[in-house]
């Protein structure tokens, strides 16, 4: 059985992707119209990274999961009520923006500072998890820059699976073209893994995990360190959503080929 690991999951929050999103110009730059009233979720890629961390921690007894999350404190608190029943973790909150319009190097800098400050951080046991991509209009580069800032050279992106071995080494399956995976063997921690969607289902809600988490989460939120990354950096000249077309039709007993043909016609317009 593998030795214990220190798994740090990095994740921002994003407006619930089902909501109506509309970019607008705010006093601090681009923002979403009515963003304050949109319910938020943990970034779906980071959400998955957290499930993977929970799964891995089960395989390496004594492992500890820390969730490092930068977001407005009030919104983060609401999101925690959704995820805290999934697995036991320690929260390291950063009270900062979650708009996705912040330069990724600035976000990585904030995350790196918090990770370096974790009590009892052991680089030889450290696996840094996060999303390969982000639903928050992020550039998909934060994890790579974070790894560099932490001095971690073993980095994997688009990860769908990690297979931990008894000697602490692990195989990593990274997505490549054509639905295939590149399999890499890593001698052990430290490493950075930017997760794709993987194969794990969402864990069920566990009220006991929720109770255990809340004892730490609420005090942590009250002490969340304020941050204002990206104050002087990238300026956005323009932002827009991809154009959308929507038509719904309910069909029964229609052959798949016919549906595919209609979809292709619809897409090519």
């Amino acid at each position: 059985m593998a030795g214990s690991l220190q798994i740090v999951v990095c994740g921002g929050i994003v407006p619930n992707p089902l909501q109506t999103l509309e970019p607008t110009a705010g006093p601090q730059g681009p923002a979403l119209k009515n963003e304050a009233m949109l319910p938020a979720v943990l970034d779906p890629w980071a959400w998955h990274a957290l499930f993977e961390a929970a799964n891995l921690a089960k395989q390496a007894p004594g492992s500890k999961i820390t969730l490092v999350c930068m977001a407005p404190k009030a919104k983060l608190q609401q999101v925690m009520m959704t995820i805290a029943q999934k697995t036991v973790f320690e929260l390291q909150p950063i009270d900062g923006p979650a708009s996705g319009f912040v330069e990724s190097a600035d976000v990585a800098g904030e995350l790196a500072e918090v990770i370096k400050g974790i009590n009892g951080l052991d680089m030889q046991k450290l696996l840094v998890f996060g999303g390969w991509e982000s639903a928050s209009r992020g550039a998909g580069t934060t994890m790579q820059i974070l790894g560099e800032m932490l001095g971690i050279t073993d980095q994997f992106q688009g990860v769908d699976e990690i297979r931990l071995k008894d000697d602490g080494s692990f195989d990593v399956l990274e997505r490549i073209e054509g639905g295939k995976h590149q399999v890499s063997r890593c001698a052990g921690a430290p490493a950075v893994l930017g997760w794709a969607t993987g194969n794990l289902p969402e864990p069920p809600n566990n009220p006991q995990a929720g109770m255990a988490n809340m004892r730490g989460i609420m005090p942590a939120l009250q002490k969340a360190r304020p941050a204002k990354p990206g104050q002087d950096g990238v300026k956005f000249l323009d932002v827009s959503l991809p154009s959308q077309r929507r038509e719904t039709r309910v069909v029964k007993d229609t052959p798949a080929e016919e549906i595919a043909r209609e979809l292709a016609e619809w897409i090519t317009g």
């Binding site: 089902l18 009030a74 069920p204 009220p207 929720g210």
Partner: protein, 625 residues
């Protein structure tokens, strides 16, 4: 493995957890309860004002389980006097809550029938003729009479407009920041735990099961949450309250026979719309006399608009969605909405029996608050503020009991909560409203007269109804279409629709003269698009179906299939291969209209229909309703 027939859950060993107070359902009543309670759990110096029995040395552990996937996914466009809410938040600034604004103007509109399809009784037709004849001297515009005064009992002046989703989110965030209570969304509660007549907590819904409830490999039995006090605020369709009602019955003389489906859209108003934030429209008369409508104008160019279809609307094809689309297109409404876009959509059941629907408010180990406890006032058309007050009154009583170290017995809760409620304006106003709507059971005109009588005499006078239950009221299709179609033609229509798995309301409404809905992709959407674009409806896997047809023989006898005709989300559909309807959990918005609309009830238990409406996950994912 055996199965509990009430909750549908297998009897297995379950984990359990102890808390001091377990709460079910996060709506305005629970918001009021938890806000008031959380302010009293700690002393000014931060020490516990009362001690937890499950975690000695700590303040009482209070946990609230909410079925929906976010505390902001409730449904209700709210216009309220906000008396109780403002008592709790004396410095409330509406600008702090998105989609909230003080009421600035109220209009009461009687809508004429521009289509000619409305089922208007002779008295209403005569009134319409008089209005049309005198339109040169009456305030009639766009086929609507603006009634020049709004009865005092209906007025919401000095009140608030808000979105229940946004309001709940605002309240919930403050509560969680207090650190004294926990609110867990995505946590359906299957039912109460009971021992020797005492409620000892709640059981959460099983996860990792098939649609039938059969365990899958990832089975996780719902945990038992043991608590000295269980606070039930899960609304009129909530399984915990309804199971308690089944087990305990209702107090002598009370009934829950009056309901309505409220359905709404949130619309981004067109540019140049002249309506100012804070404007309120109440409408009556169209699309059917029994169907009331509302339009509330929020800040930032948004408005909430919708209709209520009551249980005394005697039609077997009561499609709220279709009726709402006709209402939206009435000239007096359409002139404001046309050019706008739907942002959100949703529906809910309203328990409209009011005080006479009141269940046992307390018992050993439990207390009821909110709409499921009979707080809705059907005379003032108000429910949110009343629900909030019921929660604050309970919290005051609970704090009193906690601080004096008294148990949560029925007698103590009667003294601490029920007494407060009886002495409050909530109870006084609900007595005035008690019989206000009875007249509607015998027709629209009698209903309006009865309501006015009750309103102007403060409940001393009213007109009686016939007391029939919704299932007793629903006519057969043959009766409904008498004079229009022969029984043979009805049967042919039914058989053809059944073979295609289709409901009948569209074809019947068009037969009755209602024009086809011409979808524009912005305001007039197909029902399925309303689910996807507006309600963002979805359901997580691993939960059992929460709508179950318990008695197939009743479905086989049922010729109307009202459950499918009125389903707010087309989640229940006609089964082309049998008589028991089909249920699609991924479309359900948990409005609960199916259980009270069921047209067939057991002969030996007339309060029980063929449909079980249980705890379920998922549903609406819009925070703007």
């Amino acid at each position: 493995m055996t199965q509990d027939t009430t909750s549908g859950q297998p009897e297995v060993d379950r984990q359990s957890m102890e808390v001091d107070i377990a709460c079910v359902g996060f709506g305005p009543a629970m918001g009021g309860f938890l806000t008031t309670l959380s302010r009293g759990l700690l002393n000014e110096d931060g020490t516990p004002a009362a001690e937890s029995k499950t975690m000695p040395g700590m303040p009482p552990q209070v946990i609230c389980y909410e079925r929906a996937d976010d505390i902001a996914f409730g449904v209700s466009g709210v216009v309220t006097k906000a008396r109780a809410i403002r008592e709790t938040f004396p410095d409330l600034d509406p600008a702090d809550i998105p989609m909230t604004h003080p009421v600035t103007e109220e209009r009461l509109l009687y809508l004429l029938d521009p289509v000619g399809a409305s089922r208007r009784p002779a008295t209403v037709k005569a009134a319409d003729a008089v209005i049309k004849a005198l339109r040169w001297m009456l305030p009639v515009r766009d086929q609507a009479l603006r009634i020049p005064f709004i009865p005092g009992f209906m007025k919401k002046h000095d009140g608030l407009l808000t979105s229940i989703g946004q309001f709940n989110q605002w309240v919930g965030n403050q509560l969680m920041a207090s650190g004294t209570v926990q609110i867990w969304p995505s946590s359906p509660v299957s039912g109460p735990l009971m021992e020797n007549g005492r409620v000892t907590g709640v059981r959460l819904a099983d996860q990792g099961v098939e649609r039938s409830g059969e365990p899958q490999p990832g089975y996780m039995p719902g945990m038992d949450i043991k608590a000295a006090l269980t606070v039930i605020g899960d609304g009129p369709a909530g399984p915990v309250g309804r199971i308690l009602d089944e087990k305990l019955g209702l107090p002598e003389g009370n009934h829950q026979h009056d309901f309505a489906v409220g359905m709404k859209v949130v619309v981004e108003l067109p540019e140049g719309c002249e309506l100012k934030p804070g404007t309120v429209f109440h409408t009556l008369g169209y699309p059917e006399p029994e169907i009331f409508g509302f339009l509330y104008v929020y800040p930032d160019g948004l408005a909430s608009a919708g209709v209520f279809v009551p249980s005394w609307f005697d039609s077997p094809v009561r499609s709220t969605y279709r009726y709402m689309q006709h209402w939206m297109q009435h000239p007096a409404i359409w002139k404001h909405l046309n050019g706008g876009t739907i942002r959100s959509w949703g529906a809910k059941t309203l328990q409209e029996s009011g005080r006479r629907g009141e269940p046992h408010l307390v018992g050993d180990g439990f207390a009821r608050i909110g709409e499921g406890s009979g707080t809705t006032n059907v005379l003032t058309n108000s429910g949110v503020d009343e629900a909030w007050l019921s929660g604050t009154l309970l919290a005051e009583g609970v704090l009193e009991l906690l601080k004096s170290g008294e148990e949560f017995t029925k007698a103590n809760l009667e003294k601490a909560y029920v007494r407060r409620r009886r002495e409050s304006w909530l109870d006084k106003d609900s007595r005035k409203a008690e019989k206000a709507r009875d007249g509607f059971q015998r027709g629209f005109v009698r209903g309006m007269i009865g309501m006015a009588l009750a309103g102007f005499t403060r409940g001393r006078l009213s007109l009686s109804g016939d007391g029939r239950t919704p299932y007793e009221r629903v006519p057969t299709l043959e009766q409904f279409l008498k004079g229009r179609l022969t029984p043979q033609e009805v049967e042919k229509l039914r058989t053809e629709a059944h073979a295609k798995g289709r409901t009948l309301h569209d074809s019947i409404m068009e037969l009755l003269g209602w024009p086809k809905i011409e979808y524009d992709g912005k305001l007039l959407l197909s029902h399925q698009d309303a689910l996807l674009v507006g309600g963002k409806v979805q359901a997580p896997p691993g939960y059992a179906d929460h709508v179950v047809f318990l008695y197939p023989h009743l479905c086989e006898e049922c010729g109307t299939k009202v459950c499918a005709e009125m389903c707010s989300a087309e989640a229940i559909s006609v089964n082309p291969e049998g008589e028991v309807p089909l249920f699609d959990r991924e479309k359900c918005i948990h409005c609960g209209a199916c259980f009270w609309n069921c047209a067939k009830h057991l002969q030996d238990d007339p309060e029980r229909g063929a449909i079980a409406f249980r705890a379920g996950a998922g549903g609406l994912h819009s925070a703007e309703n």
